[in-house]
């Protein structure tokens, strides 16, 4: 088992003093495209007994929704994972299963 490593996301505090209400400026944040977790039909589930910490799923995830822990463990960030299935397709030990979203 591993927890999502929230620390990997770099989002500095920017005091825009309301400039974004006057000028076309936006600040970095999660979910700029909406609640993308709601797009899922399938969700990836990692079988940690098969996981060899090769980091292939981590590097191949287009969404940065697989976080890497300091010990190279990986965890799925279900808040925004879109369920594309790339991780499951690429995992060399078939440790990730795409399971139907309830």
């Amino acid at each position: 088992m591993a927890d999502v490593n929230e620390e990997v996301y770099v989002i500095p505090e920017i005091d825009t003093k309301g400039l974004e209400k006057e000028f076309p400026l936006s600040k970095p944040g999660f979910g700029a495209g909406g609640k993308t977790n709601e797009w899922r039909l399938l969700r990836p589930v990692i079988n940690y007994e098969k996981c060899i910490k090769c980091l292939i799923c981590w590097i191949d995830c287009p969404e940065a929704t697989i976080t890497r822990g300091k010990d190279n463990s990986v965890a799925i960030n279900y808040d925004y994972c879109k369920g594309c299935g790339v991780c499951a397709n690429e995992c060399p030990t078939k440790a990730i299963e795409m399971v139907k979203e309830d």
Binding site: N5, V8, Y9, V10, I11, P12, E20, P24, L25, S26, K27, P28, G29, F30, G31, A32, G33, G34, K35, T36, W39, C54, L55, I56, I59, D60, C61, P62, E63, A64, T65, T67, R68, N72, N77, D79, Y80, C81, K82, G83, C84, G85, V86, A88, N89, E90, M98
Partner: protein
């Protein structure tokens, strides 16, 4: 560089508006892992929209949106301003094949000729995807698009080859399916002067009629069939990247049909067209050998 050497931090944030399995989304994520302080210019393209909507952005790096033809020019402007103002940052133009090969070619060529200190990445999903899958000059022969429903008659314009004759210190091809290779190439590019150009193979599940989970797999097949050639041109010498060098030998390549059959956009392709594509692959390898 080893996979585990690629850094942990994420500056391309989850919850962006990209389709599931989007190649360009992975590409941008990898950009932020290769370049420490990217200042990115994005012309009209899928990348413009996947940032998400105001007041949020999925980019945790400074990003300037610009009109479709202007990536090379806007990037030049930032690079010059940064130099005058003594600001630190690596200017990267991140443009689709449309914004590079077609409407953006002039500004790219201009920037390259002037030696502007920018990295120009053409993320190549082989059509105008953002506007609904219309053909670009980078669409391969035989591919279905909404404006070539019979399959594109013309052949793919080779932008990296065009950049080879611009007297640049660094030109390369890369693929999101080989992420560490792409990261290494970006770092190499950053160390060079003038304009650096990378053409990045970037699969598009909806546009290619591809299962979203196959984004990485299709890219590997592209290389293993010889259809996409990974190479670097550095200081006047072209080197086929180790990943691709095995496939110089025609016998070593997987049959092209293995690559094509994964993609619905080639569903109706004829045997003659496949033969033409195979001949084109041979020509491409032959052409690149002249620069070695």
């Amino acid at each position: 560089m080893l996979l585990r050497d690629v850094k942990f931090e994420e500056k391309w944030l989850p919850g962006n508006a990209a389709c599931p399995g989007c190649g360009l989304s992975l590409g941008l994520r990898l950009l932020t892992k290769a370049i420490e302080k990217p200042v990115v210019v994005i012309p009209a393209s899928c990348a413009s929209v996947v940032q998400g909507a105001w007041p949020k952005s999925s980019a945790s790096f400074p990003l300037l949106n610009i009109a479709m033809a202007g990536a090379g020019a806007a990037a030049s402007g930032i690079a010059n301003a940064y130099e005058m103002l003594g600001k630190e940052g690596t200017v990267v133009a991140w443009a689709g094949d449309g914004g590079t090969a077609d409407i953006g070619l002039q500004a790219l060529s201009g920037a390259a000729e002037r030696g502007e200190n920018i990295i120009f990445v053409m993320y190549d999903n082989e059509a105008y995807m953002n506007t609904g899958i219309q053909r670009s000059s980078s669409t391969p022969h035989g591919a279905w698009t909404t404006t070539t429903p019979e399959g594109k008659r013309e052949f793919k314009k080779d932008v990296a080859a065009i950049m080879l004759v611009h007297n640049l210190e660094y030109v390369a091809t890369a693929s999101v399916s080989y992420p560490v290779d792409f990261v290494e190439k970006l770092k190499k590019a950053e160390a060079h002067k003038g304009t650096k150009f990378i053409q990045l193979y970037s699969p598009c599940p909806p546009g290619w009629r591809l299962d979203a989970s196959k984004t990485i797999e299709v890219g590997k097949l592209a290389v293993e069939t010889g259809a996409w050639i990974l190479y670097e041109y550095e200081n006047g010498k072209l080197t086929i990247s180790p990943i691709s060098s095995r496939f110089r030998e025609k016998k070593a390549r997987r049959p092209l049909i293995d690559y094509l059959s994964l993609q619905g956009r080639f569903a109706g392709i004829s045997q003659q067209d496949i033969a033409k594509l195979e001949a084109e692959i041979d020509r491409k390898w032959e052409f690149l050998s002249k620069f070695e």
